[in-house]
Assembly symmetry: C2
C-alpha cells in the first residue's frame, strides 16, 4: 500500500478533496435544503423538440455524430460558439480562433497547460471559482489572490499585486477572472474597471483568462461587454453551453488570440483529442434551430425571482450584521459574516439545522478562517430557498451574536 502510494505525483498528493466537494456529497441528502450546488434549471428546456433532434442525430447522422471529429471542434460548433459570444457582447469572434473543449473546466486546464510552467503564479480574484483553484494546484501553480469588492476586481490592488510579483521575480502565467456575476461572489465588474484591468495587464505583460459562463444571466437583460470584446489580443476568453443550455453535454470553448491558437489547440488535443462530436452537434442544433435566446431570457427571469426570494428571506430572517452582494445576475449570493465567524465550522451546525451552504474557505487560496459563504439559488424553488434561510437563521444569528 505505502509502496503503491509512492507512485503518486507531487501534484496528486497536493490535491485536496475540497470542502465544496464534501458539501456536494452531503448535499445529496434529500432531507437537507441544499443551497450548495450551482446547477442550471433544465426543466424548462424544450425537451420534447430536443428529443427529436437527439434522435435524428443518431438515425440520420449517426456515422458522423458517433465518429471521431477534428481536434479543434466541428466547424458548425465553432460557428455556434461565435453566435453565443455575439450575445455575450463579442460580435466579431472568428471561428478559426475558437477551440471547443469538453466543458470549460477543460479550457481552464488547457490554459494552464499552454501558458503556465510549474511554479508560475496565477493571479486570481479573491474569492474565485473552486474548480479553477484545484486545476491550478494540479499544475503546480501558485494562485495568488488579489483584492475584490462588491464590484469585483479592484484595479489598484491588481496593479500592486502584479508590481509586487514582478519585484519578486515571479512569472505570472495569467490573470484568471470571472468579471460577470462571478462564481462565487456574483459581483459584476463595471465597464470602466474592465478597461483598467486590461490596461494594467497589458502594462505588466500579463495575459488574461476571462471566464464568462454567467454573462448572459443578466437580470436587467443587458450583458456587460466582456473584456475580450475590446482587448482581444491579450485575452483568452472562455465560454460554455453549461449555463445557457446543458452542463451534461460538456461543451465549452476558448477564443484564443491568433498568435497563441495553434499551441492552445495542440495542448487541448493532447489532453482529450476532441470534445464529444454528438454533444457538439446537439449544442449546435440548440443554437441554430431553437429559440435559445428565449430560453436564456426565461431562465434568467426565473433566476432573478429566486435571487429576489433569497434576498428577501435573508433580510427577514438573518441578523442585519450579515452583509451580502445583492445579485444582479448569475447563480450565486455571497455573504460575509462579522470577522471571527468561521463558516467552515458553521457549516456542520447548518447541516444539523437541515440546510447546507458552501463555506468561503473553498473559494480562496488564502489560508486561515473565513467568515464568508456562498448560497446558490439557481436550482432551488422559492419555497425551499425561504425554508433553507429559515433553517440556517439560528445558526447564523448565534454565530453573529458570539462576535459581539
Amino acid at each position: 500500500m505505502s509502496q503503491l502510494r509512492d507512485h503518486l505525483s507531487q501534484r496528486a498528493l497536493g490535491v485536496k478533496q475540497s470542502a465544496v466537494r464534501d458539501v456536494f456529497d452531503i448535499a445529496m441528502d434529500p432531507n437537507l435544503v441544499s443551497l450548495a450546488g450551482g446547477n442550471p434549471w433544465l426543466d424548462d428546456l424544450p425537451l420534447t423538440e430536443l428529443s427529436q433532434t437527439a434522435a435524428d442525430l443518431v438515425a440520420k447522422h449517426g456515422t458522423e455524430s458517433l465518429q471521431y471529429g477534428t481536434g479543434q471542434g466541428t466547424d458548425e460548433m465553432r460557428a455556434a460558439a461565435c453566435t453565443v459570444m455575439a450575445a455575450d457582447g463579442i460580435p466579431d469572434a472568428d471561428p478559426e480562433h475558437v477551440v471547443i473543449t469538453p466543458g470549460s473546466q477543460a479550457a481552464i486546464d488547457t490554459a494552464c497547460r499552454a501558458f503556465a510552467n510549474p511554479g508560475d503564479v496565477v493571479v486570481v480574484e479573491d474569492p474565485t471559482f473552486v474548480g479553477a483553484l484545484t486545476t491550478f494546484t494540479t499544475w503546480e501553480l501558485d494562485a495568488v489572490a488579489t483584492g475584490t469588492d462588491d464590484q469585483g476586481l479592484v484595479p489598484e490592488q491588481l496593479d500592486e499585486t502584479l508590481t509586487r510579483l514582478k519585484d519578486e521575480g515571479r512569472r505570472v502565467a495569467f490573470l484568471y477572472t470571472i468579471p460577470s456575476f462571478a462564481n462565487p461572489s456574483g459581483a459584476l465588474l463595471p465597464t470602466s474597471r474592465r478597461d483598467e484591468v486590461a490596461a494594467i495587464c497589458q502594462k505588466h505583460g500579463v495575459l488574461i483568462v476571462e471566464d464568462n459562463p454567467y454573462g448572459q444571466i443578466a437580470f436587467d437583460g443587458n450583458p456587460v461587454e466582456p473584456i475580450a470584446a475590446r482587448h482581444r489580443d491579450n485575452v483568452v476568453y472562455l465560454g460554455t453551453m453549461s449555463k445557457i443550455f446543458s452542463p451534461g453535454v460538456r461543451i465549452g470553448w476558448a477564443l484564443v488570440p491568433a498568435a497563441l491558437k495553434r499551441e492552445f489547440y495542440l495542448s487541448a488535443e493532447s489532453a482529450f483529442i476532441h470534445a464529444s462530436t454528438y454533444s457538439q452537434m446537439l449544442s449546435t442544433s440548440f443554437v441554430n434551430d431553437f429559440d435559445w435566446t428565449g430560453h436564456v431570457a426565461h431562465v434568467t427571469q426565473l433566476y432573478r425571482e429566486r435571487a429576489n426570494t433569497l434576498v428577501g428571506a435573508i433580510r427577514e430572517h438573518w441578523d442585519p450584521a450579515v452583509e451580502f452582494i445583492d445579485p444582479r445576475g448569475g447563480f450565486f449570493l455571497w455573504a460575509t459574516l462579522p470577522e471571527g465567524v468561521d463558516t467552515l465550522e458553521m457549516m456542520a451546525e447548518g447541516i444539523k439545522a437541515g440546510a447546507v451552504f458552501v463555506p468561503g474557505a473553498a473559494f480562496t487560496p488564502v489560508e486561515g478562517t473565513h467568515s464568508t459563504l456562498r448560497l446558490a439559488y439557481s436550482f432551488v424553488s422559492a419555497e425551499k430557498l425561504t425554508e433553507g434561510v429559515r433553517r440556517l437563521a439560528p445558526v447564523v444569528n448565534e454565530a453573529v451574536a458570539r462576535t459581539r
Copy 2:
C-alpha cells in the same frame, strides 16, 4: 506577436504538430485513398433503435442526462464499464475502482497528472500510440523506448531498460503499454510475456498503465487476458467505448488500484469535472439494452476480412522485402521496409501516387529516420484497400529497390 508568444509554457513550445496530424489533414482529400486514420466502422450500429434511446434520454430523462453528474462517473456507466471489462477478460472489476473519463486519451492524461512529476520517465514500447507520446510531452516527461518484436514488448529488454534507468537515478512514472493488437503495430503480447512484464515491473517497483482499446477486436474471437486480470494491484487499466461502440461520445475509463483511486479521481475531476452525462447514459444503454457483443463480433469479422484483403494486396503488389506483422486483431498493419528507407519522405511520394499512410516516425520517441509505416484497414472497404496498396506499390517498390 513575439511578446504574446512569451506567454506560452515550455511544454506548449515543445508540442509539435505531429506528422500523423499532418497526415490526417491531408487524408481528408477525397481523391486520396486514406490508410491513415484508425476510425471504427459505425455503419452497422443499430442506429434506428439507438435513435429511440437517444430521444428517450432527452424526452424522459433530460433533466438528468443534460445536467451535471458526479466526478467519478455515473453508477450505471461504471457498472457498464465493468461489463465491458469482463468481456475483455477481467471478470471481477469493482465499479468503485472505476473512473469514467471523456475518452481514454483523457485517462492517459490523468495518469500523467496523477503519477508523473516533470522530468520523470515513461517507458513505452517502440512503436507506441502517437497520442500518448504527445501527452507525455505536454507533461514534460521523457518517453524512453524499450524494444519490441512482432509479439510486442520483449521482457528481457524491458528488464534492461528499467535497470539502466534505475542506475541512472531516474524516476519511472510508469510503463505505458498496449498489449493487445497495439496501435500502431497490431502486435499481440502472449500471456507468458504478460506475466513476465508484470513481474519485471513489480521487481523494479514500476507501475503499469495498460491501455486496451482493441482487446476485443480479436480475429479468433478470444481476447487474451489483460495484464490487469492477474496483476491488478500494480496496473492502471484503461478501457474505452471508442472501438466497440462510438468514439464520438468520448467515453473511456480507468480501473485503478484501490490505494490510488482517490487521487486519480480528483486529478481527473480537476481536468474536466466529469465526462458527458448524456454520453454516459447512451453508452450505458448500448451495453445494457443492445446486443453489444453481437455488434463487436460482427465488426471484428469485418475488420478481419479487411485485414486479410490488405495482407493479400501487399503480398501481391509490394516487394517481398517489405516485412509486416500479420494482424490477428485490431485496426492496424505495421510494415517495415529495408533499412535506409525514410518513410516520412516516402509519404509525400505516396500522396502524389494517390494514397496515404502514417510514417513510423510518428510512433516513436527515437529521433532519426524510420523505415516503418502504419496502414489502417478498419474504416476502408476491400476495394479501396486494394486500390491504396496498388497506388503505393511503385513508391514502395522503388524505395526498396534503391536500398539494393
